[in-house]
Structures are given as C-alpha cells and as structure tokens.
Symmetry: C2
Subunit: 415 residues, 2 copies
C-alpha cells in the first residue's frame, strides 16, 4: 500500500491543480501497486510532519512531491530531518550535479543553489538529471519514504527511471497487463447494458474500468497475476468477445487521444486532408495540427464563420444558405466539396452547427451539428448530431467525432 | 481552518484528476478562509472514517465531495451514518426533487434513485437543484461536516450558493479584496527583479502572488482586513504604482483568460477580424471562437499549412516563399495582407513559425515564430519571437501573444 503526500501552499489555495498525484496513481496502478490515499498539505513543518506520521503508520511506502525549491518557503528537507531525527550534510556529488545543470543557464551559482546540495544524512540520494533538487530515499523501520521535486517533468523522470523500478524489484507486485479499447458513438449507459453479460463472464483476474470523455469511452481491461502467457491469452479472448458485441463502435486499442489515433492512421493512408469549419471554429484544424508531422497530410483549412466567407472561399451558393440556413445538410455538403476543390486534397471534412449558448431555434436547438465528409471520388456522406448545450463540449465533440468517423469510413471503404 | 476530503477510487488510480479541491481552495481563499489540507481516499468505509476522524480533530470545518452516486460502490452516506452514529431515513422532499430532476430524462425512477432520497437522520439537507444527490450539512461538537456530490457542476453550485455564504455568515472572515493585474512580454524573473522595491513597500495587509502561464503572468494582490474603504484605497494605490513601473506590460485587470479579455475589447471596437494561420494551425481561430458571440466580429480564417494554400487562398507569391522561406517576415506579412483582402475584415493577424518538434534549422530553430498584424489602413506590423521547443506551448503562446499584442496596438493607436 502506497500513500502520496503533495506539499505546497499553491495546492491549497487553488493556484495549481495537483496533477502529479493523478499521474503517479495511474503509473503505480499500471505497475501493480495500490495508492490508498493522497494528502496535500501546506509548507508548514508541523503539518508536514503530522501527515508523514499518519502515512507511515498506515502504509509501507510514502511518496512525497514538492517543497524542494531553493527559496525560503520550501522546507520539506529540514522537515524530513526533524522527522527522521537527523541533520543536513553537504553532498559534493549533488553540488556538482547542480553546477553542471545550471551551467550556461545562470551567471553564477548562488548560496541558494549551494543550499540545494545539503541533504539529510540518513537518506540515499538519487541523482536528478533534469533539475537541481535531489531525490531522497529514506528507509526506517520497514517503511520507505521518498521525497522528490514537485516540478512535473522532474517527478515523472524520477518515478519512471528510479522509483517505480525500485519498488517493483522490492515488492514484486506480479504481472499486470492492460488493454484499452476505444469506443465511440454509444452512451455509457447503453454500453454497460450491452456488455453486462460479457462483463459477468470475465475471468476473475480481469478488471474492467469505464473511462468516459465527451463523445467517447475508453474501456480499460486490467489482468493481474503471475503467469504472463495466461493473462495475455485471457485478455485477448475477452477483447475478441467484445469485438463481436460492439465492434462497430470500436475505433482503436491503444490508450491515445483521438487525434493521435487518427494521425497515425491517416498518415499511413498516404492521402491528404483538408477541413472547412464553421461551428468548430478552428478546433478541428487544431486537433489535426496538434500532432507532430501533420504537415505530411494536412493541406490546411478554411474557418468560414461568416456566410460571405462560405461563399467567397468555399463556393457555397448564397441562395442555398438563404433557403436552408447555414446549419443544414445542403450547406455543409457544399462546404466539404468546396474545400476539396480549392485545396486539391483527397479527403475533406466540413462542420456547421449551433455551438451555443445563443443561436438556437425550436427547429435547430443549440447542439444541432451537421458534419459532412467527402472522399476521393467526390462521394459525400453527412450526418446530423445533437450534442447538448455546452459550447466547449460541442466544439470538442464535433471535432473528435469528425475525425473518428472519417477514419472508420476509410477503414470500411465507405469513403 | 478548513479541510477538504475527496472520495473516490477514480482519484487514487489517476483516472480522474481532482480539480474540485483546487476550485474549492481558490473560492474559499477568495472568501477569506484557509484550506489547510486536502485528503483523497478510496470508496472504503474504514478509510473514509479514518480520514474524517483526523480532519474533524484538526479543523473546525470539513468539506467532503464524492461518493454520492446511486450505484453500489458509492458508500459515503452510509459511512457518514456510522461516523455520526445515526441512521438513514427517507426524505420526502429529496425524493420529490429527484423525481422532478429526472422527469423527461429517464423512462422511470428506479430503486437506485429511491435510495438517493435516504439521508442521515441528524443532518440538515440542502436541496440540490442541478442533480440528484442531496447536499448534507452536519454539526456536532462545534464541528461542521458538509457532504456534497463530486460532479463539478453540482459541487460548484452547492459551494457558491449555499456553503460559502453560510460559512461566511458563521465565521465572519472579514473583508477580502482581490485585484488581478495581467502582465505579458516579460519573464517571471525579470518581473520579480523590477518589482522588488515596489513589493517591499506594499502595506502589510496586501499579499502578492505570481501566477505564471505560458507567455504571461497574473499578479494577484489580496488585501485582508475589516475596513473596506481603506483596503480598496491601498490596493488602488499599489496598482497605480505598479502601472508606473511596468505599464507597458499590463494588458488587463480582470482575472480572465487572454481570449476573454480580447473578445470583450475587440467587440467594443465595432470592427471585424480575420486570421491567417500557419504554425498555430487553427488554434488562434479556436481561441477567438471559443468566446460566445465571436461571430459578431470574427469573419473566419484560413489555415494555410501548405505553401500551395498560402498562394491559392492568401495570394502569397510563390517566389517569395522560395526566396525567404515560409517562416519569414515577407511571407507572414503577405499572409496577413492576403487575409485582409480576401475577407474584407478591418484587422488581420498572420502566424508562421516552427512549432516543433521537427523542422528546425540552425538559422531558424524550433520555436522561431513570426507574427504579422494589419490594420484598416493597410499598415503592417510584424515581430519575430523565440518561444522554445515545446510544440503545444509554442502553439498556445503564438496564439495568445497574437491577440494580446493586437489589443495593445489598437489601444495605443499604433494600428
């Protein structure tokens, strides 16, 4: 059993959201460990010591992040000395690491940096290659306490490279195998209903978690045991059975963002893509270009927010807009065809909808979204969605749905 | 002194980041309270009770979120009964609220929903207008314990409408006045250096916090006391002094996102805007259109990721791209002028740069970003920035800098 303590006034007054403990919990869980409690405390000696006493009483491993900076308000190190009844000593190796790290970054090493080379006498120092604060590993009365920096990049490096491997070697948590199944186009409640029989028949060593996001759900299967081959086989069988039930809703098997899955897939097709956006307002292009290497297949796009631009840049007939409205099947299809023509790409996506909060009507309430897709032979597919009344979620769902559906249509040769 | 307990397995295995406690910490701090500890525990009775016992021993107010759903694994209510040595009783009013809330959303009320109307006998129920889980207020031996749902929207409603007002009435934390100063175009270290004298002369009752984000910093001044007039005067004086030192770097005084500040400002000008994006890839348009009402002034944009599109849609001369490269002053200026021409907007912004991770050269390393702005009289201003090697941060900084700088130029009649 592991507990996490995160230290820093900024966490308690809400300046900073504690993302470290969630990341640590996830990674430790993936490695076969259970985190049973996370405690966030202020930069106060007595409060840190009280939290440490409770955590070491309950759990065998306590991981601490934060409070190791060079400034006066960071007091974790002194507090650890008091807690373990030891003193700070100068550590030449840490000092050299700090000097090396700061070389070229600052004009001179100051006393504050020299202070960073002072470490509690009873701890083992693990060197930190990506920052100036050392990682400190304490052991006392069968309990392990590790103190590491709160800077996420430094914490992650320390956890992945040193702390998790050491904990695994020490506690042998067994074999853990994870498989993530990415699902879209079905609500969580309907999915749970469809899967109830399958879920009941899962072997005992496989656990299932539903991880929902706007418009899609990650299903995470976790098998825990000691024989890797058997676990793998059982997971594979379970996923195959799942595919028979909800195959049409599955768009991937890796724990990646929709844009990453799409980017990997689309790049492999060797084709090019363009988009014409109205309601998604640039977010669809942003999702595509957030993936490094998008320039290999993404030509660019038009955000035709105004009706004039829909006409001027995409060639949508103003009469059609007047007759059917900008949020309509004929207009969204013309947008997609226009984008294809103007850019010469193989595939085009167009979006037009009412993201909200204003602009809804009884016929077309907020959340009404049209998406059109066009393929190399000018075939057009379009669909109308009703996503709800939150502007931000409507923009995200429109964009992710547009990418996932295009990928599925190409895979199934529907486009 | 207030403690927060967040309950749920999903928090410990890192499926969900605990954003609730940060939001609560911020709001409570703004209201004059101090949160001294946040504890996250699993859905286990003994662990919840142990956390509750510790929190009520140390602090006079304990706020709990989560574990109130209708499913089996949510056990907060039963645990509170055991902790307070009481029993669950059926509450007619809560049951009617649940029925009203679910009307039209589900086919029928089931036993699980009926279970939601069972509440501990010794608590005061605060009605929840935005969900089905009741808010429960307990008092025992001078300690206050409040249990509320973990769904952020429900928690926020409960905190803002009921819990914070009640706590204020009970504890009278005094007057708190906040003022946020939005700063850009200067690093935190340089800012701290420039402000050291000013900071030392701040009246004792004013506290200062640096809240950095990519490319900008929020300075938050907080005055605490009992005489509102005096506090206000002192804050105003401090801000005026600040304006004399770093006025050129200040772009706003409200705690809003850059896009919100820009949207409010630009709408008030009555002018229209367009953008031509290369390296920002749609994110700049997304920032603008993320603000409701953007269609009043935003015409649309072109994401000219490929050089052909820069030519076809924006009229950039291919010779210029060949001669200077796509990431260059002549090209980014032509992109902005082209966007202005094709859309007929009053103002245009263009971006072109190397977002990374690939594409850098010794002359133009990753992070080299050109931004150009054009105004109603075709004046062009352009600047080159060097932002660093993180793709995501480069995209965000480019887009936010483009908006903030345009706003400053219009305000100062430079464009």
């Amino acid at each position: 059993m592991i507990e996490i303590i995160t230290i820093g006034d900024e966490l308690l007054i809400g300046q900073v959201i504690d993302t470290n403990s969630a990341w640590m919990g996830k990674e430790l869980n993936l490695a076969g460990f259970e985190v049973v409690r996370v405690t966030s405390v202020r930069d106060r000696k007595d409060e840190i010591k009280e939290a440490l006493a409770g955590a070491t009483r309950r759990s065998s491993v306590v991981l601490i992040t934060g409070g190791l900076g060079p400034t006066r308000d960071d007091i974790t190190k002194q507090t650890l000395c008091e807690f373990f009844n030891t003193r700070l000593v100068f550590n030449e190796e840490v000092y050299n690491d700090v000097k090396t790290f700061l070389k070229g970054r600052v004009c001179r090493i100051n006393n504050l940096n020299r202070g960073q080379a002072m470490v509690p006498e009873n701890c083992e120092v693990i060197r930190n290659p990506v920052g100036t604060a050392p990682i400190m590993w304490f052991e006392k009365e069968q309990k392990i306490v590790v103190s590491m920096p709160g800077v996420p990049a430094e914490m992650k490096e320390a956890m992945s490279k040193h702390i998790i491997p050491r904990l695994k070697a020490r506690f042998n948590p067994g074999v853990i195998i994870h498989k993530t199944v990415l699902v879209y186009g079905i609500t969580e409640a309907h999915l749970a209903e469809k899967l109830s029989g399958w879920e009941e028949n899962l072997p005992k060593e496989i656990k299932l978690a539903y991880l929902p996001a706007p418009g899609r759900i990650r299903l995470r299967l976790t098998a825990r045991g000691h024989e890797e081959e058997i676990l793998k086989n059982n997971i594979d069988k379970a996923v195959k059975a799942l595919d028979n039930i909800i195959g049409e809703h599955i768009y991937g098997y890796e724990d990646l963002e929709a844009a990453e899955i799409f980017g990997q897939f689309f790049r492999s097709t060797g084709k090019t893509l363009t988009v014409a956006e109205s309601c998604s307002g640039g977010y669809l292009a942003h999702l595509i270009t957030s993936i490094p290497g998008a320039s290999n297949y993404f030509k660019g796009s038009v955000v035709a927010y105004s009706n004039e631009l829909k006409a001027a840049l995409l060639g949508v007939e103003p009469d059609k807009i007047a007759k059917y409205g900008a949020v309509s099947q004929p207009v969204v299809e013309e947008m997609a065809l226009g984008a294809l023509k103007v850019t010469g790409a193989h595939y085009a996506i167009a979006t037009s909808g009412i993201a909200g909060p204003d602009g809804g009507t009884p016929q077309k309430p907020v959340g009404t979204i049209w998406i059109a897709w066009v393929g190399p032979n000018q075939q057009v597919v379009s669909k109308c969605f009703q996503f709800g009344n939150n502007r931000e979620r409507n923009i995200i769902r429109t964009s992710e749905t547009a990418l996932i559906e295009l990928m599925q249509m190409i895979k199934e040769k529907r486009l």
